[in-house]
Symmetry: C2
Subunit: 463 residues, 2 copies
């Protein structure tokens, strides 16, 4: 049985599971009398809560796709299969195709039409013609010295970080950095996160098997007065543009967080994912610069260049370096060498910084279009947060109650938006953001922004 879940869209997971199983039944992949996995098994397999699976099974039962034998499981009903069995390949294509949106406000994605292809290809080609032993062999787990040197100099200049090449580890995007950090903790350690936080990050941390505790955020980021007395091993935070709320952590809280880490022998993971794109106010220096031996700085090229090459990095304190290198080696030996060397060349030549400068202008323009459209279509009823930086902003709507039906209508209109609540943990925090939506604008064409908001406004105001 093939269940493809889209964890980036706004359709609730139970509904996606329901639709996927129904699809498998109708296309004949699951024949009559096929026994579905138990809700416990499927929840483990898919990495979702058991309640979510049970809700989808209830719906399948209610709509007559399956029946249950008491104490013996859930079975596919007969007579539902379409005449033909589609090929698995066509089937996969279908799942992929159904995720196409007419207009997408997906978060955390740069403008893919602006990837500097020509410059990349030129550097890549030069790299591939260097000495075979340098480019084609396995690399070192920490990454190539070329990239680490270029990056150390660049980050020191633009982010004020304090780290030499020997404290940098190249990873497959920020995601792998989080995975390695969690993997390098002991089973009895626990991880502390902001709430809400990126549901992708949460998924990665949960898979590590470590216990997770959360601290709520407010308009100023993580509420440091609520830090727990029992010491966590790692504290995951997004100080320069909290995900998803967009708040900026003020200096006083940064100090408190560092003091807390120091006195509890914990480490702060500074996820600086959006810091390159700042549109107003002073640049905020990194927490890593404040205390390089207590802060692990995580960055990615997914948002400054493109996600597809899977390159990111972390700046690590001396005390953690060996453990993290061992975790990286055990994970996949090293990241791809030709792409590391290509990136090093783009950073050294200044092409990377120039690209970011150009994109910052473009994203500011898109942000302005988005803010103007929101104010036009929701006069006096929208509160915008997090628009001073990054590739998305958060909208809270007054006098509008957003429900599943509205979200489904937005989806059916071909528009992709994200709820804030899907990034929140627990009923209380989910409730707090029940009327908030996220609008990413990185990869949204300028001409789609106004059109998309117009459609969303019609649906949200239609009752």
């Amino acid at each position: 049985m093939q269940v493809v879940l889209d964890r980036t869209g706004c359709i609730p997971l139970w509904r996606q599971i329901f639709a996927e199983i129904r699809r498998n039944i109708v296309n004949g992949m699951l024949g009559a009398e096929y026994r579905l996995p138990s809700s416990r098994e499927l929840s483990e397999e898919l990495g979702v809560s058991r309640n979510v699976v049970m809700e989808s099974y209830d719906q399948l039962l209610a709509e007559g796709y399956v029946y249950s034998r008491s104490g013996a499981g859930t079975y596919v009903c007969a007579g539902l299969q379409a005449e033909y069995k589609v090929s698995a390949a066509a089937d996969s294509r279908e799942s992929a195709a159904k995720k196409k949106y007419r207009i997408s406000f997906r978060t955390g994605i740069p403008d893919l039409s602006m990837v500097p292809v020509t410059k990349w290809l030129k550097a890549y080609k030069n790299v591939m013609h260097e000495a075979p032993d340098k480019v084609f062999d396995y690399g070192q787990p920490e990454g190539t010295l070329e990239l680490r040197q270029a990056l150390a100099a660049y980050l020191g200049r633009v982010r004020g970080t304090a780290a030499g090449p020997e404290n940098i580890i190249i990873t497959n995007g920020a995601a792998q950095a989080f995975n390695l950090l969690a993997a390098a903790t002991a089973p009895e350690d626990y991880l502390l996160c902001e709430n809400p936080l990126s549901c992708g990050l949460l998924f990665t941390l949960e898979k590590s098997g470590r216990k997770i505790e959360t601290v709520p955020v407010d308009e100023q980021g993580i509420k440091t007065e609520m830090l727990p007395s029992q010491a966590p091993r790692l504290i995951f935070t997004t100080p320069s543009h909290q995900f998803p709320t967009g708040s900026v952590l003020p200096a006083a809280r940064r100090n408190e967080l560092i003091k807390y880490a120091e006195s509890h022998d914990a480490y702060i993971v500074e996820d600086d994912y959006d810091s390159e794109f700042r549109y107003s106010g002073n640049p905020i220096s990194s927490m890593q610069a404040m205390h390089p031996q207590r802060v692990i700085y995580v960055g990615t090229f997914a948002k400054t260049l493109l996600p597809a090459v899977r390159l990111g990095f972390m700046l690590v304190p001396d005390a953690l370096r060996h453990q993290l290198l061992a975790a990286k080696y055990a994970s996949d030996i090293s990241s791809a060498l030709p792409e590391q060397l290509t990136l090093a060349e783009l950073i050294r030549s200044g092409a990377y910084a120039a690209h970011i400068g150009k994109m910052r202008k473009l994203y500011r323009e898109k942000r302005n279009l988005l803010v103007a459209a929101l104010e036009e279509h929701f006069p006096g009823s929208v509160q915008i947060a997090g628009d001073s930086a990054g590739l998305h902003l958060m909208c809270s709507f007054r006098g509008i109650s957003i429900d599943d039906n509205m979200l489904e209508r937005i989806e059916n209109a071909g528009i992709q938006v994200e709820t804030v609540s899907r990034h929140a943990i627990g009923a209380e925090q989910k409730g707090k953001y029940a009327n908030a939506l996220l609008f990413g604008y990185g990869n949204t064409p300028r001409e789609d922004i106004g059109k998309g908001i117009e459609v969303v406004a019609k649906i949200l105001k239609s009752r």
Copy 2:
């Protein structure tokens, strides 16, 4: 303190740690009175046994680089530091440089001078000019459909595997496949391995925190009559060319292994790393073809094309697919898209198969040169195993006792060879292979093979 270990060479780990710490003391990175980490701490950090660290500390103590205060740790002695403090960057270069060998018989590495650069670049360039949404975005955790389709067809043809694109997961080399497989087991599960086995694989599996049991191998591969009664979750095996001994698992043992897995609800991980290069005898079909729902087939492009792009794959039974996809997503979301699409194009066009055919001829020639050189320099005293396939062979020497001193002299002569015992677990198995060496020939230039064996022979026969 920076300790760079070379897990692929033949210098014992304790000696490497000793040399690295000495280097750090002499270059001033570790000043006088610096307190070294405890042997327990350092062994954890480096992922080596505590005995190994203790041995290196004893040596430092004996040579007067450190002194110990009873019950208070180990400290760096004064007056040993060179005048200047080398920069960390220069330091890293130095470590990298010292790993250069004049002649290398490293195992598991293809001929890097033969990478089909022009074809790769042409396909890569075409891919990078496809639609931005297709090439530049995050990919799916299972990999692109293009590559999975091309691979399913290719593997079915050449390896007789039974898997559609929906049962393939693209990984960052075989290493990541092993990491994900171990990560997807439960903490109480245990893993069963061959002994000896690749020390890189062992490192990855140990890092998962799962318990590991071993079964010895003989001239016919894993000794199936010694399979334990308590069921493991995963059984790691290399049936087509056992690493490192080179034996081929006969049909009867394959059957027994599969029956065992079936009756114990375990899964077999068939690491088919070397199967593309077979020089004599009939091609051996994969175990996956015998029982696709009990066998996970792991392959890599590191040995057929190049290690640097970090691409591999696994064919997975339906029952494990979701868990493994979740593990891959949590690990790094997806593998790099441009390189997946490039590879798909090379497989589809037949360029990949043609390259393998060409390389098979070249490797056969190198193998013949190596066998001839061994027989010339060790007449009547060498027994060669595993030379019918792959990129390395195993030599057992009669009447020669290989010791650390000989290995160091080989190393000092600029020649890289590997012992078999470093891939073995436990004194008994290590002892069994005490007189055996591995000679890889994939990346050894033809003209170096005879020269290298001549030098090794002189050293081995010199007392």
